[in-house]
């Protein structure tokens, strides 16, 4: 039963991942991404990580991909992109190198059973979800004790990102009354 669920969701995930790369329409790519994310949520449920599964759907499918779609729709880039030009020089060879090394890392992990790279005998170690507490309780305890610093740093990072977004969209006024955009246009 567990194997069947794993195989089915793995096929869904992989098909979605291929679809993201292969589809020419950005909206279709985003939808394939949702397919992959939901498949991963099923795998979380399979591993008794119910809370992670819910968060996966709420945050990734429900918020992040929605924002992708928003940008795609508002900017109207819902046609196939021009693929001949490279925005960043050397992008494609670099992507090939990174892709191959990522595949190598993943392959190593699968082959060696994780302990070469991380030293862990199994994912989660002694904190695996087999006790009485639910996954949400355990996660809360670990996040706000052992990893409290990381949580706080992440919060600060997100705040900085929000401030940055506000600064970018705001039309800051200068003392002479012109906006930042106008000043920049004059300087160039």
């Amino acid at each position: 039963m567990a194997e069947a669920v794993f195989v089915v969701s793995a096929v869904i995930i992989l098909a979605g991942a291929v679809g993201v790369v292969a589809s020419r329409n950005p909206v279709h790519a985003a939808l394939f991404l949702v397919q992959t994310l939901v498949g991963v949520a099923v795998l979380f449920v399979l591993n008794d990580a119910h809370f992670l599964a819910a968060v996966q759907v709420v945050v990734y499918a429900g918020a992040i991909v929605i924002l992708f779609l928003f940008v795609i729709m508002l900017l109207g880039v819902d046609k196939a992109e021009e693929l001949r030009i490279e925005p960043i020089f050397g992008q494609r060879p670099l992507a090939a190198v990174v892709g191959v090394s990522l595949a190598a890392v993943l392959g190593t992990v699968v082959v060696t059973g994780a302990d070469v790279l991380t030293g862990l005998r199994r994912a989660g170690g002694d904190r695996a979800l087999d006790g009485d507490a639910t996954d949400i309780e355990r996660m809360g305890r670990v996040l706000f004790s052992e990893y409290a610093f990381a949580v706080e740093i992440t919060a600060a990072l997100l705040t900085v990102a929000v401030v940055g977004a506000v600064v970018l969209t705001r039309r800051a006024s200068r003392s002479d009354g012109s906006t930042a955009a106008e000043t920049a246009a004059q300087e160039t």
């Binding site: 039963m1 567990a2 669920v5 329409n25 909206v27 279709h28 939808l31 949702v34 449920v45 399979l46 591993n47 008794d48 119910h50 809370f51 599964a53 819910a54 968060v55 759907v57 709420v58 499918a61 429900g62 918020a63 929605i66 779609l69 928003f70 729709m73 508002l74 819902d78 087999d130 639910t134 996954d135 949400i136 039309r171 006024s173 009354g177 906006t179």
Partner: protein, 429 residues
């Protein structure tokens, strides 16, 4: 056989006592029966709800509402549905055909799935279990460990239906309508989630069944029930009610389909059965949202058992069903009432209300409840905790209001200083 191993976790319904042991034919049959009954109930309820809304609106507008089909026009929805079924199914030429056909289902399925976690009945004075065919079970389709999070997940998935319907139509007005709708739904989801967090805090768990059990406990002074609307101090309920209405795109938040501006909103290009599916999803969502509010704030099916036995048969569980439907009915009435009473919001008012009022209030109240909870655990003076928290909130509210004001002043100054009277790029629309 699988159930004995940890693998049983793949069944999201693991908390139901029926599914704790071996899974046999009876368990599968019961689960299927529950799902079918819930689905059939939702369909009939939608039919009645549309009739009820039209009739009540008619009454509030001093007209009759539907009168022709059946007694009191009660079959009007059936007639409309049949008509829609036989109309020509149009797919616009410029549409994205697959997504266009997929979108109505993406609206409909989450609406039904969210209903699965709602306890519909049971005698909650004794834990809310019923015994059928020798199996103890709950009167709800599923009681997943993530409980109420499933509702939040489904309401965030439902955004896709609206968004893709508008986009795939290949036309301007539906696109504008769907961008409005999804912006609104995403904005109000935050307030919705924060209101739910307050309930999760006082319950100490996510399961909807546990929430009802907690609310069925002994109340105050022997008469006032221990409903969360009282336990959490009314504020989360008000926030949830407003955010829920906005999430449903119902009036006064229906500028998604503002007829004067957008023809018909995201479903302008839809016709025939696909349009009917959107309509169905919309009313299903209204019923599901009301049922969620009943579960979260008004004790769900919890209530007194007036007649425990009838002719030797234990019918205590049926009283839960009765109380649940009475509460549901009152809430549905309130939704129609709001629609008849309140004028539509403007878009900037909508966003201001969501981001500058509801989210801060919901967050502040959540922190206040947390402070009380921590204080109770540590044995602090409750009055002192309340006063200090209220002072902190007053300070925070003052800061927020000042920040909003100074932001608005700066915008006004800039608008006055710039040559053009108003820049279309900064107008949020």
């Amino acid at each position: 056989m699988e159930a004995a191993s940890p693998v049983s976790g793949i069944l999201v319904l693991a908390a139901d006592p029926m599914l704790a042991g071996d899974i046999g034919l009876v368990e599968v049959g019961l689960t299927l029966a529950k799902a079918v009954v819930a689905f059939a109930f939702l369909l009939v309820a939608v039919m009645l709800m549309i009739w009820f809304e039209r009739k009540l609106l008619g009454g509030m507008h001093q007209r009759f509402g539907p009168t022709i089909a059946g007694p009191f026009g009660i079959l009007q929805t059936l007639a409309d549905g049949t008509k829609l079924f036989f109309k020509e199914d149009l797919v616009p030429d410029r549409s994205d055909r697959f997504v266009f056909k997929l979108a109505p289902y993406l609206s409909l399925i989450p609406a039904f799935l969210a209903f699965a976690i709602i306890p519909l009945g049971g005698d909650f004075n004794n834990g809310g279990q019923v015994e059928w065919w020798g199996r103890a079970t709950y009167l709800q389709v599923a009681d997943p460990p993530i409980g109420i999070l499933l509702f939040l997940a489904m309401s965030s998935v439902a955004v896709y239906g609206v968004m893709l319907a508008g986009w795939s139509s290949g036309s301007k007005y539906p696109l504008l309508g769907s961008v409005r709708a999804s912006a609104q739904m995403v904005s109000y989801e935050a307030a919705l989630g924060l209101a739910v967090a307050s309930i999760v805090l006082v319950t100490g768990g996510l399961s909807t069944h546990d929430m009802v059990v907690a609310q069925a406990a002994e109340g105050y002074f022997g008469v006032v029930p221990r409903w969360n609307v009282i336990v959490t101090g009314l504020v989360p309920f008000i926030v949830f009610m407003i955010a829920g209405t906005a999430e449903l795109n119902r009036p006064p938040f229906d500028l998604v389909e503002a007829e004067q501006e957008l023809v018909g909103g995201f479903h302008t290009e839809y016709s025939s059965i696909r349009f009917a599916l959107f309509f169905l999803a919309e009313f299903m969502n209204t019923i599901t949202m009301s049922a969620i509010i009943v579960t979260l704030f008004f004790g769900g099916p919890a209530g007194p058992v007036l007649v425990g036995e009838l002719g030797g048969v234990n019918i205590a569980w049926a009283w839960g069903v009765v109380w649940f439907f009475l509460k549901l009915f009152v809430l549905l009435f309130c939704f129609v009432w709001m629609r008849a009473t309140l004028p539509r919001f403007r878009y900037d008012q909508l966003m201001d209300l969501g981001w500058k009022a509801l989210i801060p209030v919901a967050l502040g109240w959540f922190l206040f409840l947390t402070a009380l909870e921590v204080g109770r655990e540590r044995g602090w003076n409750e009055a002192a905790v309340t006063i200090v928290s209220l002072l902190v909130f007053a300070a925070a509210a003052l800061l927020l209001v000042r920040a909003v004001r100074s932001g608005r002043r700066a915008r006004d100054r800039e608008a006055a200083r710039s040559d053009e009277p108003s820049d279309p790029a900064t107008e949020r629309a």
